[in-house]
C-alpha cells in the first residue's frame, strides 16, 4: 500500500533466495520493490539449475552449498516479503525436483497462502500431466510456459487453448546471462499469443543486461525479465545505480528520446 501511486517499471526482476545470504536476498527483494518493479521473480535455489547460465548457477550453488537454504527457508523468506508488500506481484521459480521432493500438493497450497499466482518451472512441460506421480494439483496457481522461437504452431495453439495467462519467452536460443539478441522468429510467437487474447501477458528474458535492451524488449512485450545482470550489478555494489538507470530508460517521460 505504501507504494500506491509510485511509478511501476515494466520489469520482472529476478533474484536467487539465499544468495548471498537469505537475509540479504530479502533486502534485495525490497530494493527491487521500492524501485517499482512490476513483478518480483524469486528463485528457490537448486543444486543443478539446468537451464541457467554461470551467474545464476553459481548463485544457486552458493545458496545451496554454503547457505544451506531449504525449500522451507525459501518459503519463510517469501512470507516475510509478502507480509511487508501485500500488493506486490510475485512469481516463484524453481526446478521440478525441488518442488517434487517438497510435495507438489503441499507446495501449491503454500503458494496460494503466499498469494503467489504464478510458478515458473523451466524443466516441467506445463501440460505434462501424463501420470499420477506428477499430476499438477488443482489450484489457483498458474504455471508459466517458457517458450522459445522454435515452439511449433500445434504446440502453441494447444497451450493457448489452456488457461495460462503469462508467457515467458526466451529472447533467443541460449542460456540465462548470455549476450542479448532477439530471435527474428519470436515476433510471430508474440503476435499469436496477443491475438489469442490481449489479456495474456508476455515477458521476455535471457540475456537482457542493459537498460536499452530492456527498453527495446518492452516495445514488443509487457515486461523485460532481468536476472543475471541484476546479480552482477549487486556483486559490483551498483544495484541502486542499475535500477535507477533502468527506471530512467523505461519511464514514459523518456518515451520521446
Amino acid at each position: 500500500m505504501e507504494r500506491l501511486g509510485a511509478q511501476q517499471i515494466p520489469v520482472m526482476a529476478h533474484l536467487v533466495l539465499g544468495y548471498p545470504t537469505l537475509e540479504a536476498s530479502i533486502q534485495t527483494a525490497e530494493t527491487y520493490i521500492e524501485a517499482g518493479v512490476a513483478i518480483l521473480e524469486l528463485q528457490i535455489p537448486f543444486s543443478h539449475p539446468t537451464a541457467d547460465g554461470p551467474v545464476i548457477t553459481s548463485a544457486c550453488q552458493e545458496a545451496v552449498e554454503r547457505q544451506h537454504v531449504s525449500v522451507e527457508d525459501s518459503l519463510a523468506a517469501i512470507r516475510t516479503i509478502r507480509n511487508k508488500y501485500p500488493e506486490q506481484e510475485i512469481m516463484v521459480m524453481s526446478y521440478v525436483n525441488r518442488v517434487f521432493a517438497y510435495g507438489l500438493k503441499k507446495f501449491f497450497s503454500e503458494m496460494e497462502l503466499l498469494r503467489v499466482r504464478h510458478l515458473i518451472i523451466p524443466d516441467l512441460p506445463v501440460d505434462d500431466m501424463l501420470h499420477s506421480s506428477i499430476l499438477i494439483p488443482q489450484s489457483s496457481l498458474k504455471l508459466v510456459p517458457v517458450l522459445a522461437a522454435n515452439v511449433s504452431d500445434a504446440r502453441l495453439e494447444k497451450l493457448l487453448a489452456m488457461d495460462f495467462d503469462f508467457y515467458y519467452l526466451m529472447s533467443d536460443f541460449k542460456i540465462t546471462g548470455s549476450v542479448f539478441s532477439l530471435n527474428p522468429r519470436l515476433q510471430g510467437v508474440i503476435d499469436r499469443i496477443k491475438k489469442s487474447s490481449p489479456a495474456k501477458r508476455i515477458g521476455i528474458g535471457f540475456g537482457i543486461s542493459t537498460p536499452e535492451q530492456a527498453r527495446f524488449v518492452t516495445n514488443v512485450a509487457d515486461v523485460a525479465i532481468i536476472g543475471s545482470a541484476l546479480i552482477q550489478a549487486q556483486q559490483n555494489g551498483k544495484l541502486e545505480e542499475y535500477l535507477h538507470d533502468l527506471k530512467k530508460a523505461l519511464s514514459p517521460a523518456t518515451e520521446l528520446v
Binding site: T50, V71, N97, P125, I134, V146, L147
Partner: protein, 414 residues
C-alpha cells in the same frame, strides 16, 4: 509383482516414454521440438528394415560384432560354484558396448540431415565411441566431460581429440558425468539444430527406450551364444549399472524369460554414507532430473547429491527409468560392489583368465564371484564385460603398481 504375466519387452518399446510411473520428458520447452523429431524418427526407423540392416552391417563391419562369449573355467573351478561366462563387449571398437547405441543414433542423425553432434561422457567411453562414429560418418562433434573425469580418463580425451572431436571440460558442480550432461543440454538449448547423442538409457524420452533398443543386440547375442555353448539359457545375467545402458542391453532380451535372473550391480564406492557411493536404486530417492523421473541420489530436500565411484562410468546420480521400473516390479535385482571389490575383481580376472575388464564392468564380476559361490555347479552365471580395462591404465596401475607408475611418469618427462 507378477513377472509371468507381464510382457516387459513390448511394454518398454511401446511405452511412449513412461515405464510404470518412471521416465517422461521433463525438459525446457525449447528442447521439445528436437526431442519430438528424434522420437518420431526412432518410431519409424525401429521398424525400417533398410535402416536395421545398415545398423547391423555397421555393427559387424565397423565394431566387430558379434563379440565373444567366453567361458571362465579356471575361475569357475577356483570358486567351486556356478559356471561363469563372460560376454566380451570390450572387444567392440573403442573398447566398450557404448559404440552400439552410437552407431544406431548416428545413422538416425544422418537420416535427419544433422550436421553437428553433441554428447556427454563420464569414463570417456561414450565420448570416444561418439567421436569415432562422427569421424566415420563425417559429422562435427563436441563432447562435454566433467573436469574430474577429464583428468582421470585422459587417454580417452586424447583418443577423442585424435578423432577430431572437440572435448570441453566442465568446471561446474562435482565435475563428473552429471555436470557433463547438463553442459550438453545447455549446448543443445543454444544450438537446437544439433543432434544430442545421449549416451545411456537415461534422459528424456526417447533416449531410454531408444538406447535400450540399440543395445538389445547384446542380450540377443548372449542368448544364441549361451544356447550354443551350454544348450540352454543362463540362470543369471549380471551387469554393472551406472545409467544402465549395458545392463539394459544385456537384460532386455531376457525380460520375458522368467527363469533367467537379472542382477544389476551398482557402485558401492567407499561406503553407504552420502557422497561415498553411486547406488541409486538401493540408496536413492524418487526424483525428476535431467529429463526423467527415476531414483536419484539426493539430499532429502530435492538437491542432487554428490556421488563417488572409482569408475567414472558409474559415478552418476541417476539411473535408467526402465531399470527403476523393473526394480520396483522385482524383475531386476540390485546389489552393490565396493571400489576395493571392483579393483580386486580386475586383478583376479586378469590373473586367472587373461582378461582385463573395465573398472565399471569389474563391479559386475565382484558380485558374480560372490553369487557363483552360493550356487550349485549346474547353474550358469553370465557377466557382461561392458568394456575393456585399457582405459583405466593409470587408475589401476596406481593401485597395483604405484611406484612403477611414478617411475614411468618421470621417464616420460625426461
Amino acid at each position: 509383482m507378477n513377472t509371468t504375466q507381464t510382457a516387459y519387452k513390448d511394454l518398454i518399446l511401446q511405452s511412449e516414454g513412461y515405464f510404470g510411473p518412471y521416465g517422461g520428458c521433463f525438459v525446457p520447452e525449447v528442447l521439445l521440438p528436437g526431442l519430438q523429431e528424434i522420437a518420431a524418427a526412432f518410431d519409424e526407423l525401429k521398424l525400417d528394415e533398410a535402416f536395421l540392416a545398415e545398423f547391423h552391417d555397421t555393427l559387424h563391419t565397423f565394431s566387430g560384432r558379434p563379440t565373444a562369449f567366453t567361458p571362465l573355467p579356471r575361475l569357475t573351478e577356483e570358486i567351486g560354484g556356478a559356471q561363469l561366462f563372460l560376454k566380451n563387449e570390450g572387444l567392440n571398437h573403442t573398447g566398450a558396448h557404448k559404440i552400439t547405441h552410437c552407431i544406431g543414433q548416428i545413422l538416425l542423425a544422418k537420416r535427419l540431415g544433422k550436421k553437428r553432434i553433441i554428447a556427454e561422457t563420464g569414463a570417456g567411453q561414450h565420448g570416444y565411441a561418439t567421436a569415432a562414429v562422427c569421424a566415420r560418418f563425417g559429422l562435427d562433434c563436441t563432447v562435454y566431460m566433467g573436469r574430474k573425469d577429464y583428468e582421470r580418463q585422459r587417454p580417452n580425451v586424447y583418443w577423442m581429440e585424435l578423432l577430431g572431436t572437440k572435448v570441453v571440460p566442465v568446471e561446474d558442480g562435482s565435475q563428473t558425468l552429471n555436470d557433463a550432461v547438463i553442459a550438453a543440454f545447455k549446448d543443445w538449448v543454444a544450438n537446437p539444430e544439433s543432434y544430442y547423442l545421449l549416451g545411456s538409457a537415461v534422459g528424456p524420452h526417447p533416449y531410454p527406450a531408444m538406447n535400450t533398443f540399440f543395445q538389445k543386440v547384446v542380450g540377443e547375442e548372449i542368448r544364441n551364444q549361451c544356447v550354443e555353448a551350454t544348450g540352454r539359457l543362463p540362470d543369471y545375467c549380471v551387469a554393472c549399472v551406472g545409467g544402465g545402458s549395458n545392463a539394459m542391453g544385456m537384460f532386455y532380451d531376457f525380460l520375458d524369460d522368467e527363469e533367467v535372473g537379472l542382477i544389476g550391480v551398482e557402485a558401492g564406492g567407499r561406503g553407504v554414507q552420502p557422497g561415498e557411493h553411486a547406488a541409486k536404486v538401493l540408496h536413492g530417492q524418487l526424483g525428476i532430473f535431467e529429463g526423467y523421473h527415476s531414483y536419484f541420489l539426493q539430499d532429502g530436500d530435492g538437491n542432487i547429491a554428490a556421488t563417488h565411484s572409482v569408475s567414472a562410468g558409474l559415478d552418476y546420480c541417476g539411473v535408467s527409468p526402465i531399470l527403476a521400473y523393473l526394480a520396483d516390479e522385482g524383475r531386476v535385482q540390485f546389489a552393490t560392489a565396493s571400489d576395493a571389490a571392483a579393483l580386486a575383481a580386475v586383478q583376479r580376472l586378469a590373473r586367472k583368465e587373461g582378461l582385463i575388464p573395465a573398472l565399471e564392468s569389474a563391479h559386475g564380476f565382484a558380485h558374480a564371484f560372490e553369487l557363483a559361490a552360493t550356487l550349485p555347479k549346474d547353474k550358469i552365471v553370465v557377466v557382461n564385460a561392458s568394456g575393456r580395462g585399457e582405459k583405466d591404465l593409470f587408475i589401476t596401475m596406481r593401485h597395483f603398481q604405484e611406484e612403477s607408475l611414478i617411475a614411468y611418469a618421470k621417464h616420460l618427462l625426461k
